[in-house]
Amino acid sequence: MNVFLRRLGYWLRGRRAADELDEELRFHREMAEEELRRDGASANEAQRKVRRTMGNTTLAREDARAVWIAPWIDGVWQDLRHGVRSLRRSPGLVAVSALSLGLGIGLNTILFMGIRTVYGHEPTMVAPEEVVGVEPGYANQFSYRDYVDLKSSGIFTDALGFRTGGLNLGSSGRVTPTSLLVVTANFFDMLGVRTQAGRTFTAAEAAPERNPRLAVVTASFWRNWLRGDPAAIGESLVLGGEPFTVIGVLPDDYRAVFGWIGPQIYVPISRLTLTALEDRSAPSMSVLARLKPQTTTAQAQTAVTSFVAALERTYPDRLTAKGRSVRIYPAQAAQFRGAELGYQALRTLSLITGALVLLIACVNVAGLLMARAAERRREIAVRVAVGAGRARVVQAMLVESLLLVATGGVLGLTLAYALGWAPLASEMAPLRNAIALDARMLPYALPLILLTTVLCGVLPALRATRASVLDDVRQSGEGATPRTWMRQTLVVGQLAMSLFLVVATLLFVRSQIRIGHTDLGFDLDHGVVARFGLDQRQYPGEARAEFAERLVERIAQVPGVSVATVANFVPLGGDSLLRSFHPAGRTDIPGTRPSTYSVGPEFFRVLGIRLVRGREFARTDRAGGAPVAIVNETFAKTYFAGRDVLGQHVQTEDELDAEVVGVVRDHRIGTIGEAPQSVVYYPFFQRPRNLIIHARTSSPDGLVGPLLRAIDDVDATVPVGAMTLRNATSLELNMRRLGTMLMGVMGAVGLLLAMIGLYGVMAYLAASRTAEVGIRMAFGASQLRIRQEMLLRALTVVGKGVGLGALASLGLTPLFRTFLAGVSPFDPVAFAGASILLTMIGILAGYLPARRSSRLDPMRALRQL
């Protein structure tokens, strides 16, 4: 180790160490000369004699230097300088490879950053290995009462609960619906999270029975809403009409347990923030717990299982879905609960497409380097002949590729950085932070650059140095056809990869177009939606039903509204809610979870959802009337296959046993691409919930204003926001647009790079056959014939690439099934479209060089021989 450090020291002192050595040698020589002169020799004689006896000074210097520096380092330095010089002479090569690699490396760096943000999200917590998520089995979440029992059970050191909630931010009238995280008082203490300003809740002040009106906010909320002002601590935020005092600001690097995007306001749990606080049958809180030292997950699992069993014995009347067991999982995984498959699919998609673009770029550069190596065969052969080892030549070529890749890398990172400034839809703002570029991307970019260097450089270098030295010294670089098969193979692979990218892009684009025309099962274009942000004290129970009725009556009179109703959800509006279901009298069907919604009379007419059988809810279906339900076709098929579902009884988790009076067509609920889901609808007036008014009209855009004014006529103090149905469902559409854009960029870049590669190979093939073409034309072959032949060759390569790509795509596209709405992953249009596009590009790439070589002047071509 010390030896190494000393060596490094010499190397760093470089020049000075060399000068000192020179001085020493000079001193040595002069002393020797002096001594000879003392013995009576003349100055000249002495010099000559010394030179003879002292030996080769240059060699002495080199040998001494070699002790300091491993010779290969010196070699790399030499290669670097040589590489820069020789690349400067080939600006075309540098431009094409920098562009290819820049796009490849830039895109991949951004992808990695995004993936790391979304998937590598590590929540802020002390000793994360001790923290686990707990699911009781009868549901994914605990009720607050059950949570309190679990916390005091002694199974864990501590346990916390949280749920996402929504309240309106601002005072009456104009408000912003805001999501917040409702947390137990010990939330921050258990995780060990500190604030950057102010403080977190103490257990005493945030106890639920005190109805604490306190809030802790994230750093970005503090900056955007509270001016980033330290004095903002102590100010009030009006949430759901209640003033909440801001007591703390979380640190900038705080990462929430529920994922990278989410609520920015944390409030303590209480009756203000969770209605069902005392209701044991309302599982409403996700629970994280800290394992006791020396307790394994398995032991905790056993303990929680018997804890839950005891609960079920104590509260036997509670409806539970048996058949699932308690789950204990690492808290780090909490953010992906419930959507693991979708998340994984998205990650796979990004990684595959990113890798393909980079590979295509590498193939381009490798191809160019091979062509360059072929031109430099003589130079390489000479270097080998004068004693450079094969390893030394390979090293020199790798250094050259490194230079190319580094240039591309710089360009790529610049591109990635520039993208950070590109305009993004406001909903995507969190994504901008996610891909914001800084030093954190170096751990991705640097290995990527090294990997790319190896991918681009090794194959050409090995091939270039394999050739027989003698042959190459003797002849000039011409006429080695066997070498081109390697490049052709690479191009076939490249075409196959870009075919896949194009197929995937077309699938996404077609799916996007299809969404415009897709049958969502409801009518997206003739609705206006008004969401109310009522808190628990505004219009509770019966009063809410009465208020809803007055609203519907008033809105139905607004000119342009043909019919209006009330519901607790907007399809595709992010309101899906799963409940366990039991056909009356049965509690033994595990894993069946239909959505349940409350809808008013004529809801299906308003939304344009077709009634298949039976009737809609009527105004008479209200509290006190016979409990009724409407189900969708999938529900009927799933639970009552082969039987008439009308007149059957159903019962979901916390509802009454209800008679089915109608069947409606399926419609999309959560996502456009989802598989049909089972749904049960209950009459809004039998169970008034969140209040959303739906109105049907022929011109939604013009109706938002009049609708709000009509609502003000009924009660001007309630918080409400109105928008067209299309806008109310736009988050998913935006996400899809982003996905399609991403795929589009990938596809376009992949295609562009493959074009460059193909053109390069075709042009090179044409150039290396100049002499042959010349001879043949001299013997009378027509231009047309030469051109046809060249084109045929291009088509063979393209054909192989397209065929291979189509096969590979058939295997890969099913991975994206979740993202494709209404388009089969094997969509023939996308496959045919991509194949035709690539073939045409192939013809073009083949035609230009073909035309050039068919116009050759045979005499000039022959003279080149």
Partner: protein, 111 residues
């Protein structure tokens, strides 16, 4: 290639030993070391720059000797080398190895 005027050839590795032994008497510059070797060997060992200086660098890098710039007898700048504790230990080891080797060779020659 690699021609030196050392006559006769030293056994490989012995130059390091000789330098270390020479420096055991006190610090000395490169020319002094060469002189000392020549004089004490009665002109048998004539060490050229091309072996002396690489050997000195090797010993420096290994930490067996240190070099410090000072003034020579005739007021010229020269680098004086001296033995480090590690170098002393190394000398003992090499000395022992060398003695064994010489004895072994002698035994073979006289057998």
């Amino acid at each position: 290639m690699g021609a030196t005027n050392d006559a006769p050839e030293l056994l490989p590795g012995t130059l390091d030993l000789l330098i270390l032994r020479t420096l055991q008497r006190g610090s000395m510059h490169g020319y002094g070391i060469a002189q000392h070797l020549r004089v004490t060997s009665e002109d048998v060992l004539q060490v050229g720059e091309s072996s002396l200086y690489p050997a000195l660098q090797r010993l420096l890098v290994n930490g067996w000797i240190t070099g410090e710039w000072g003034l020579s007898d005739n007021n010229r700048r020269a680098r004086y080398y001296s033995l480090t504790p590690a170098g002393r230990k190394r000398l003992a080891v090499e000395r022992k190895g060398f003695d064994q080797m010489v004895m072994a060779i002698q035994r073979v020659l006289e057998a």
